[in-house]
Point group: C2
Chain length 223, copies 2
Amino acid sequence: MSARRPDLSVYLVADAATIGARSLVDVVAAAVDGGASTVQIRGKDLPAADLLALVEAAADQVRGRATLLVNDRVDVYLAARAAGAAVDGVHVGQSDLPVDRVRRLVGDGAIIGLSASLPAELEALRRLPAGTVDYLGVGAVRATPTKKDHPTPIGWEGFGSFARLAHEFPCVAIGGVGPGDAAAARRAGAAGIAVVRAICSAELPAAAAAALRSEWADAEAAA
Amino acid sequence: MSARRPDLSVYLVADAATIGARSLVDVVAAAVDGGASTVQIRGKDLPAADLLALVEAAADQVRGRATLLVNDRVDVYLAARAAGAAVDGVHVGQSDLPVDRVRRLVGDGAIIGLSASLPAELEALRRLPAGTVDYLGVGAVRATPTKKDHPTPIGWEGFGSFARLAHEFPCVAIGGVGPGDAAAARRAGAAGIAVVRAICSAELPAAAAAALRSEWADAEAAA
């Protein structure tokens, strides 16, 4: 994937809390086979050694076919990268390391995504140098069981308002998003849809990713 | 503190789960006033932004008077260090990032401590280049409520056996250690005693640290 301009259209958040560590790598591989364009590995409760092993195994599967990001743990990204793993960057939340500090650690070549849904968060971001952050994860669109601490659901209308406000950033819609949402997401200005359960809990993750990919292509064509 | 050869004799593990974040920095300052020689900031359940703020505030208090280490989060160490904070290294456990990967990230100037208490862990460490790790945290000497996942208590006899086996590494005794333990620790070959509650839960942390410092000096003189 070209550095710093990832294809965010079908964005899998592969969450170790939602699927087991062993099957996580299989799900990632299947999702990328099906057409997922970006994969974020999230393991908030995993020891760092386990998360590193997951990220490196996922990188082996993904290599060159999708953008691969690590949630929160910049050190895990750096360790994987230093050992040659094909990992492209990090995704951080508002209570993770501040994005300007992250940019300093990862350098100019890495992708940084940031969760944001409040105008004040956008204002804070705009006080930082341009290029600090490459995209925003915006939500939760709907309530979701896979992330307990998500902000109040904002719906497509709220998403659209924020995406217009944050016009200089590609905005990925996250939070309870899944099949049937691509058209609404695209109309609301989304650069993609980020899903956990829609792929991770699907019987056939590759087919689920392919369906989302096709749905997104239709939404693009209609736009 | 001289890089890579820290004074480990009175080693405070300042654990955000044991004391509140606001008072943690006060306890660190008081402990160093009293004579703590090394301070490790531990915040396993803290968001990275909060841990970074704690580490930077502690560094402001400690500057030049004790060795300051960050538990687990190598990225927090790197971020603090990149911004000029006087933080000296990291302490990692067996399920954190592997120490050879950590050494690669922090460079030659930083201190790395590792929790170890099993011969197999020592053997694995000896397969790495010399200088990968600067000291070992060995325990638990006794059961302790401040770390739920500690290994089976090994007592002073177990500590002594391991310290002899690991003779090339300074070994700090940890796990239920406190006042009255310096002589036994020193006899068992310890380079210092690591405490949480003995300082954090003391009414006067400075006095508690000073008493441990004095006790350690007596044990050294008697050795």
